[in-house]
Amino acid sequence: MAQLNMVQAINLALAQEMERDDRVVLLGEDVGRDGGVFRVTEGLQERFGAERVMDTPLAESGIVGAAIGMAAFGLRPVAEIQFLGFAYAAFDQLATHASRLRGRSRGRFTCPLVVRTPYGGGIRAPELHEESSEAFFCHLPGLKVVVPSGPYSAKGLLLAALRDPDPVLFLEPTRLYRMIREEVPEEDYTVPLGTARVAREGSGVTVIAWGSMLERTLKAAKPYDAEIIDLLTLNPLDLETILSSVRKTGRLVIVHEAPLTCGLGAEIAATVAAEAILSLRGPVLRVAAPDVVMPLPKLEDAYLPTAEQIQAALDEVLKY
């Protein structure tokens, strides 16, 4: 087994699936000759040709819109949007079409589409290159939203996404792209969509995180008897894993780097309040970014949740 970083793991998943299934076609800005701005698709055009790894004009809505037409007519397109902040231009295609095509056509047309995009903060990049607006997309019934937390989950989730019969938004935490190396099996394996992973067992408090906040949470929670859940799929939520952990620990902290208000933490907290309130010993706390726009690099650290903030929340709930 090889030690890979997340960029390599995603590249491997794409290459293996393209080898296995000739319906898989990549398209996006700079994905071909240049191998993508993060080099995630490096070498794939050379290997599979320009018909399967298509450099497109600069047109986010057009890219996702075209990918919808490709998906409906027998391909399994993988559209890359260069940064999540530019996916806003394609939000219309996701909300208006990709997530609705199966329903609107009553099953006559489906949309097995994967939209991959770098996501999240902490990389000292220009404006709109560090967005964590996952909650917008989680509000679309019919669209799955997935966030890997390391190379192993990246490969397995991407393979699952590529084989899913419905559209999947695959958010790649840029801060982790080259930060973590992990054993990534060469063999085919999937990490099923809709299933969270208990990243660390514990009994005093449940902490839920995803993407790059999982890494920060694991570090911050080291001294605590915390059960840490790596959400992996943000929509649909793995309610069983969340609720059974909270029923066991009686306490819950949710960590996300998106702004607090209407973040995904709110949905989780509300679900726990509805379904496990009698197990709770204290308030459900959310550690999140403030309700401001993601700032430029000079203030980035002031925006992203810190290990200290996570620890303060753990200390607070553990008082109960």
Binding site: P57, A59, S61, G62, G65, G103, P165, P236, L237, L239
Partner: protein, 351 residues
């Protein structure tokens, strides 16, 4: 350095029949007598469908409805040129296209009565569901054309939309992509000269919509959209170009919206009735009738028969539509995604 001319362009406008139904013989498309009569039947069927829909809506038997009256030539003439394997991406005002391609009439009414099941195209017809969001479906045709080429299928992808849609970014992105990839795609714009209350002159500063194609390096042509033979001819040419690797075409059908934008609209608020009167003289159905009568393919008796037949078809479709049992609430869930989440499963049970 002197200034030089990089390129010059011309915009063609195609018409075969004049307002009196007199043909420019060399331009007549190769259509058999049966096919010419079929075009007439389909246009009459489309108008009958439309006028019945307006009546049904007034009686509360259909929901909000966008009439096509006046646009039958643009719709029937273009769709008649298509193969059943071609991929069609309609807007919401294309019932004449559906009818020409053989979409079940009762299903069309079912959709406009508020039942999404009517949107499921039968097997063998590659018609995407109606797109209510103006212009956002145009890129889907680009993708369908990419898929056709990749899989070495003959199909051409055809997007239908209105003049208002040409102001949308998706129109631009789609035509640009289609041009860059030289795709087997066809973009058919029905310039009915209105986007609700906005006249086409306020939609663009360009003298035609067809010329927009030039900026994307693709073919563009304006046709008399009330001349079914011109529309058919232009569509045939474009399909042949697409199938032989010559790339996409943008066809502007210049026509006119004779009714309100929808049954929820009152066009008297923004356009003078005289404008509509002037266009009545260009009516696409009577124009074809004059042509066919001149050729002794039709006469008053035969025209009456065509109408009787259309009414019978529509009567039967309305009856069939109204006999369809209403959908069950569980039906909302069944096509949201292939594998429902736990919460959706519970919600479905309670629905």
């Amino acid at each position: 350095m002197a200034e030089e001319t990089l390129a010059t362009f011309t915009i063609r406008r195609l018409a075969v029949l004049d307002e009196h139904g007199v043909a420019d013989e060399p331009l007549l498309p190769a259509l058999s007598e049966e096919e010419l009569l079929r075009l007439h039947e389909l246009m009459v069927l489309a108008r009958t469908f439309d006028q019945r829909a307006l009546a049904l809506q007034r009686e509360g038997r259909l929901g909000t409805y966008p009439p096509i009256t006046g646009q039958e030539a643009a719709q029937v003439g273009s769709a008649f040129a298509l193969d059943p394997t071609d991929r069609v991406f309609p807007s919401f005002r294309e019932m004449g296209v559906h009818l020409t391609l053989g979409y079940p009439v009762d299903r069309l009414y079912q959709y406009w009565a508020g039942d999404e099941r009517g949107q499921r195209a039968p097997e063998g017809l590659e018609i995407f569901p109606v797109c209510v969001s103006v212009g956002s479906h145009i890129p889907h045709a680009v993708g369908a054309a990419i898929a056709a080429r990749y899989r070495k299928e003959e199909a051409v992808a055809v997007a239908y939309f209105g003049d208002g849609a040409t102001s949308k970014g998706d129109f631009h992105e789609a035509l640009n992509l289609a041009g860059v990839f030289r795709l087997p795609a066809l973009f058919i714009c029905q310039n009915n000269q209105w986007a609700i209350s906005v006249p086409v002159k306020e939609q663009t500063a360009a003298v035609s919509l067809a010329q927009k194609a030039l900026a994307y390096g693709i073919e563009g042509v304006q046709v008399d959209g009330n001349d079914v033979l011109a529309v058919y001819r232009a569509t045939r040419e474009a399909l042949e170009r697409a199938r032989s690797g010559g790339g996409p075409t943008f066809i502007e059908c210049l026509t006119y919206r004779m009714e309100d934008h929808t049954t929820a609209d009152d066009a008297a608020r923004y356009r003078p009735p005289e404008a509509v009167e002037a266009w009545k003289r260009k009516d696409p159905i009577s124009r074809l009738e004059r042509f066919l009568t001149g050729r002794e393919l039709l006469d008053d008796g035969k025209i009456a028969d065509v109408h009787t037949q259309a009414v019978a078809t529509i009567d039967a479709a309305v009856k069939a539509m109204e006999a369809i049992p209403p959908p069950s609430p569980a039906e909302m869930f069944d096509y949201t995604c292939a594998n429902l989440g736990r919460r959706q499963v519970a919600q479905r049970q309670e629905a």
